[in-house]
């Protein structure tokens, strides 16, 4: 029998409660497989309240998940092992929605952000979620955090080095979040980072290969992948960073050219869903293997074509130490 409980060796006899506790605290070496895509812009008919989900390990079309509290452009978002969160973007809103990832129900109110803005970014560890920047007229530099296991309002964490919006999802390890690209409204190449467990201002990490806005990132605990976005038009470029070491991004492969897609991962496979392919909004989900990169094969379709989508997963790099 394994030395009980031994978290670096999950074989052996375990109590169900200990497994549950270990998963919720991010210590269980478990890779969640669900990505929830939420809200977005359907075009000039306004925002969407649609949520849909895919199983990241298995290519296929998305299934309906339930509805957001309102019709939002919910750019940003992140997930814990059990919940996904979206800072809704309704002219500019302070609402934080959350869902239980393992269910397919409607979202519920978690609390409010301290600062109203839309087009925020999001990143998380297993316990703490961060919302970054956004358009608060002017663009804001605020990073706020929530403790995902509770309900409550956002709390000031510190400032980005560059106030910006439209940087969707971000890559993270269990300890570090990297905020990548965005718009001021001109597209930016900046990457800055924070240590999630502490509070404080962001520090410069390096630069993207090109200034890119309306961009979204995800990854494993070691590698962050930033894909597609807006330079002076929609671009297809994917690029990667090594989260533990500061430095510039390098080319990683290509997606379909689009901006305002949402990104999420199971720490092995990265997905980008939706976005604006000009002149049409996209329902396409594409995947990329985080270890290898290259061309992104088609994964399936969202239930509705939309851009500026939010995404939260229960398997991203911030949840899986060493995966």
């Amino acid at each position: 029998m394994a030395n009980y409980p031994q978290l670096d060796d999950i074989q052996g006899v375990w109590k169900m409660k200990d497994i549950s506790d270990a998963r919720k605290s991010g210590l269980w070496r478990y890779i969640g497989q669900r990505a929830v895509f939420a809200g977005g812009n359907e075009g000039d008919v306004g925002g969407s309240n649609v949520m849909d989900y895919v199983t990241i390990a298995t290519a296929g079309n998305a299934s309906d998940f339930g509805n957001l509290q309102g019709a939002y452009e919910a750019a940003g978002g992140f997930g814990s092992h059990t919940r996904a969160f979206f800072a809704s973007s309704a002219s500019p809103s302070r609402v934080i929605d959350f869902v239980q990832i393992d269910t397919t129900g409607n979202s519920a109110d978690f609390g409010d952000m301290a600062t109203g803005a839309f087009f925020r970014g999001g990143a998380a560890s297993s316990t703490r979620g961060l919302f970054s920047g956004g358009d608060g007229s002017p663009d804001i530099n605020n990073i706020e955090y929530i403790t995902m296991a509770t309900l409550g309002d956002g709390t000031d964490f510190g400032d980005l080095t560059v106030a910006r919006r439209n940087h969707g999802n971000h890559s993270s390890s269990p300890t570090r979040a990297c905020f990548t690209g965005g718009q001021v409204p001109a597209s930016q190449n900046v990457i800055d980072y924070v240590e999630i467990a502490t509070t404080g201002n962001a520090l410069d990490f390096g630069d993207l290969t090109a200034a890119t806005g309306s961009v979204s990132s995800c990854g494993s605990s070691t590698r962050g992948i930033t894909g597609a976005g807006y330079v002076s038009a929609a671009v297809s470029t994917a690029q990667f960073i090594t989260i533990a070491s500061q430095g510039n991004a390098n080319n990683f492969g290509d997606l379909t050219a689009r901006y305002g897609a949402a990104a999420g991962s199971n720490s092995v496979r990265a997905l980008w869903g939706g976005g604006n392919t000009v002149p049409a909004y996209s329902n396409v989900v594409e995947s990329m293997e985080i270890a290898t990169g290259g061309a992104a094969p088609d994964f399936g379709n969202l239930t509705e074509a939309r851009g500026n989508v939010g995404c939260g997963t229960n398997g991203h790099g911030g949840l899986n130490n060493g995966i």
């Binding site: 000039d44 008919v45 973007s89 663009d139 980005l160 080095t161 410069d204």
Partner: protein, 102 residues
């Protein structure tokens, strides 16, 4: 005690200078090496004597400065068909100037 609206760079270590209370606005590329390759606009902490790369006297001065490098900037409208509209330098300058608290 008073604060100022100034231009500044990040420190050589890539951190936000300690004399900046609220900054990172409207970066303008310069010829410095990273991470000091952007001139940023921000409000200093109350009582700081730091002037960074220069102090703005008023909102009109910020607008004049923004006009020198933001003429091609566009921004995406919410709930639109992807339409982008021109960046409004006057609105941006006034918003930054409101960060001067005293």
């Amino acid at each position: 005690m008073a604060n100022k609206i100034i231009k500044y760079n990040l420190t050589a270590e890539g951190t936000i200078p300690t004399y900046i209370d609220d900054g990172g606005y409207y970066p303008k590329a310069n010829s410095n090496a990273s991470p000091q390759d952007w001139d940023l606009i921000g409000a200093t902490v109350d009582g700081s004597s730091e002037e960074g790369l220069g102090v703005f006297a008023n909102a009109a001065a910020i607008k004049t400065y923004l006009d020198t490098y933001t003429s091609s900037w566009t921004t995406e409208e919410l709930d639109s068909d992807g339409t982008r509209v021109a960046f409004n330098q006057t609105t941006a300058a006034n918003a930054i100037w409101t960060k001067k608290t005293s």
